[in-house]
Subunit: 499 residues, 2 copies
């Protein structure tokens, strides 16, 4: 006795479904989750982890170690944490140490202040869902200093679980409508794939605008307009996301460009989201970080009283690189009062961001001051890290541009280079035949032959027919040199092989 | 010149929308977010915070302090952290302390082991998205010990940002379909409102099954069947959530009940979600914690090879109460391989759970062992906390049951009492007239008159026409006694006033 699906009857339920089938299968799971992609931790990184395991098991490879330049993970690449930050955190976690004479007094007073803001004086208590009040006050004062006195209200600050959490939360608020009225969100191409992943999961429409690679990945308003006009035919574009300094593209936007973007957002009634997690990572001469908030307020009340803006920062990048703590904040400007209440309610469901990350965020926005015992050491450590990064940014650009078939824009800021690579037609065909993106094919070969793990440009988006990879500038200088030499050699061989 | 909406034309855009209106308003925001409710941090808690501020500003109140018994936040209520855990965390954060002779050797070796599992030996690095491998191994060994040797594969362990994060992620995977095929998820009533909030946000159908208050909040299979049969008329119920020990209801499920639930899930093809964050919080004689995993495996391969189960644990409850770290894990059993790959991809978008929380989770599952220098102190601290909680559970039940009009089931486990309160009809009417739930009316009056902050039963769900509140048993014994006496007095006066 068999059923129409060819299974023995005893394995079928009445309605003809195999009874041993899982409740949750890839066919019956949330379809929006299936659409999510996140290249920074995608298949190439999984293969890199496998290779590491094989190496440790003694399997012979054409390389001695895997170098992961796929993710902005500074400490994993050997960057040292800021001593003061870690001292204060240790004091907060184990307050017995407040009796220890070897800890500097300013670290102790910082720790005492943080603990006083915690329930039961413990980092183990939940904080307010919006974040510890004293930390939000410190963030507000930091923003005011950074922006030359533009006022900041601590009530507009929400502490987050890394910047990603804040970005996803804001996008979540913005999504509504169906079909042609579905919310569209404008993101740069190339983009950081958190954006595309979050939009896919939320079922929002991703509206691509292309950065201008020829002009050092700059943002043209005419391209914004083109993308918006196009998108309006099939969705309701409501938000515009900017990453500055750029990820994966490393550009730093000019003040003029930011002003133009704000004017565009005001004219077209778009909610602005400014991802500014690399705000201290500016290396190139003549470049400077301008916050969207500051420019907005300098444009006068016509803009500063109306344009809705959320900006994001984090403990993970800049000179601290403390990714593991998942610390961050967002500031919301001109947000409707009722929406703000909804935002506060929404974040309360997850109780609170990790409190050690909040404490760390507090230290980032309120570091040692001149005259305090830890000041000099702090400045020395911060400067060393930032000038090291600046040197590596330059080195990366210079070496990559010596390779025929690789063109690399200056790494003005952030932590990545996103060079354009030429891939011979034969290689493109072989990749396409295997159902693989040509730059994925390229990066996989690079990984297998050299142990270097980069992320293909297709994971970030790129102009049709162009190919790129993203590499971090984070490996220690000596390792970075080796890495760049290996890439150079690989590219030459790869080009030879497929030409 | 005015438009049909009565605004001056210059304030309107072509299509008649006021140009100065916000892009994001409560009318144009995500409608599912609006439906989210989370009573544990709802309006009553906001009022409590306001009252605290007023008190600190010298405003006269009929009480000297606000006592928050609304949330299971142990450290905020004065519970002390486990010394060993905090020592290891301090060592991890500031490894200079490894040279300090005052730290015990077992704390140091634990710290070294954790650091070796971190990129660049720093808690500031991202971990694998699924969590640090060595921590997942320790979790697996803990589960095996706890469950009398039932095997556990570290690949089935996902570290999470508190249990909430794991629960929401699992629900997210399960949701699909539209209209009558939309995913339904069965949750107990009363429930922990994370579930209803997450289901509202995901647009899933909440399927209520009622716990039996008369039988000490036990779970009747006939009620599960009723709820399921009913739900099948309008949605596709695919998952069954259980909280054991119960929140807010404090019951501990019998082994027999768990077996029955598993059999029911198998028969009805439901994905099981077992929220077991209170697994160490069992106080009542004759009660014992049984994990769903263990019972499932004891039922033999017919069940252990087929029933899909996700179970959740956390660093926030039990004897450690480290809520602020947002540490947790989930174990998935019999999950489809492709779905597991999708789950891994999904969590990778948020990069990783907070690493300090992962380190803490590691210590919870791998505490000091007999013979190690920290063992005795650890046992002493753990026992003190748990027996203190057991005493307060009993005290709460006893005192509340002396009040006429309050009936309180034994607090067998977890951290809450959820007594039934009788509210006079006059009060019900006054509340209803004011558009308020009667138990919210009651709790607000209690707060204003006594400074005690409880959560109304309506925030958790309850049988129509019954009223409850949830209070934690966490305040220190002397404060808890005062709190209970005040509740007693308030209830008497309230009943008098409205009778």
């Amino acid at each position: 006795s068999e059923t129409r699906r060819g299974l023995p009857r005893e394995e079928m339920t009445e309605n003809g479904v195999p009874s041993k089938a899982k409740v949750l299968t890839v066919d019956t799971m949330n379809p929006t989750v299936k659409k999510v992609e996140y290249a920074v931790r995608g298949p190439i990184v999984q293969r890199a982890v496998e290779l590491e395991r094989e190496l440790s098991q003694g399997v012979k490879k054409p390389f001695a170690e895997v170098i992961k330049a796929n993710i902005g993970d500074a400490h994993a690449m050997g960057q040292q944490p800021i001593t003061f930050f870690r001292q204060v955190l240790a004091l907060c976690l184990y307050p017995e140490l407040l009796k220890d004479r070897t800890f500097p007094e300013d670290a102790k007073s910082r720790a005492r202040r943080i603990l006083q803001s915690c329930g039961g004086n413990s980092l183990g208590s939940y904080s307010a869902s919006q974040g510890i009040e004293s930390v939000r006050q410190d963030v507000a004062r930091y923003i005011e200093r950074r922006d030359g006195g533009v006022p900041c209200d601590p009530d507009n600050i929400y502490l987050t679980t890394g910047a990603s959490d804040g970005i996803v939360t804001m996008l979540k608020l913005l999504v509504c409508g169906e079909g042609a009225t579905r919310t569209g969100v404008m993101i740069s191409i190339p983009q950081y794939p958190l954006y595309s992943a979050a939009l896919a999961e939320l079922g929002a429409v991703q509206v691509n605008y292309y950065l201008n690679e020829e002009k050092c990945w700059s943002l043209d308003i005419s391209e914004l307009q083109r993308a918006l006009d196009e998108a309006r035919k099939h969705c309701n574009p409501r938000a515009l996301c900017i990453i500055n300094p750029g990820n994966p593209t490393g550009q730093v936007q000019s003040r003029q460009c930011i002003e133009d973007v704000i004017r565009f957002a005001a004219k077209e009634r778009l909610f602005l989201m400014a991802d500014e997690v690399y705000q201290d990572n500016v290396y190139a001469d003549g470049c400077q970080f301008h916050s969207f908030k500051k420019v907005l307020f300098e444009m006068g009340p016509e803009y500063s009283n109306t344009v809705e803006l959320a900006s994001f920062h984090s403990t993970s990048k800049c000179y601290m690189g403390e990714c593991g703590f998942r610390g961050g904040y967002m500031e919301v400007i001109n947000m409707d009062t009722e929406v703000k209440a909804q935002l506060t309610k929404l974040v309360s469901v997850r109780l609170c961001p990790p409190v050690p990350g909040q404490a760390l965020m507090d230290l980032v926005v309120n570091p040692p001051q001149p005259g305090e015992p830890s000041y000099e050491k702090f400045i020395k450590e911060r400067t060393a890290t930032l000038s090291d990064l600046a040197e590596k940014a330059k080195l990366t650009e210079e070496v990559l541009n010596t390779v025929e078939g690789i063109t690399c824009n200056p790494v003005q800021g952030a932590m990545y280079s996103f060079p354009c690579i030429s891939i011979p037609e034969k290689a493109v065909k072989e990749a396409t035949d295997a159902g693989q993106q040509p730059d994925m094919f390229y990066c996989m070969k690079l990984l297998e032959e050299t142990g270097i793990c980069l992320v293909p440009g297709s994971g970030f988006g790129q102009k049709e027919g162009t190919y790129h990879f993203r590499m971090t500038i984070l490996p220690p200088t000596d390792k970075l040199k080796i890495l760049l030499d290996k890439v150079k050699e690989f590219h030459w061989k790869f080009t030879q092989k497929y030409s």
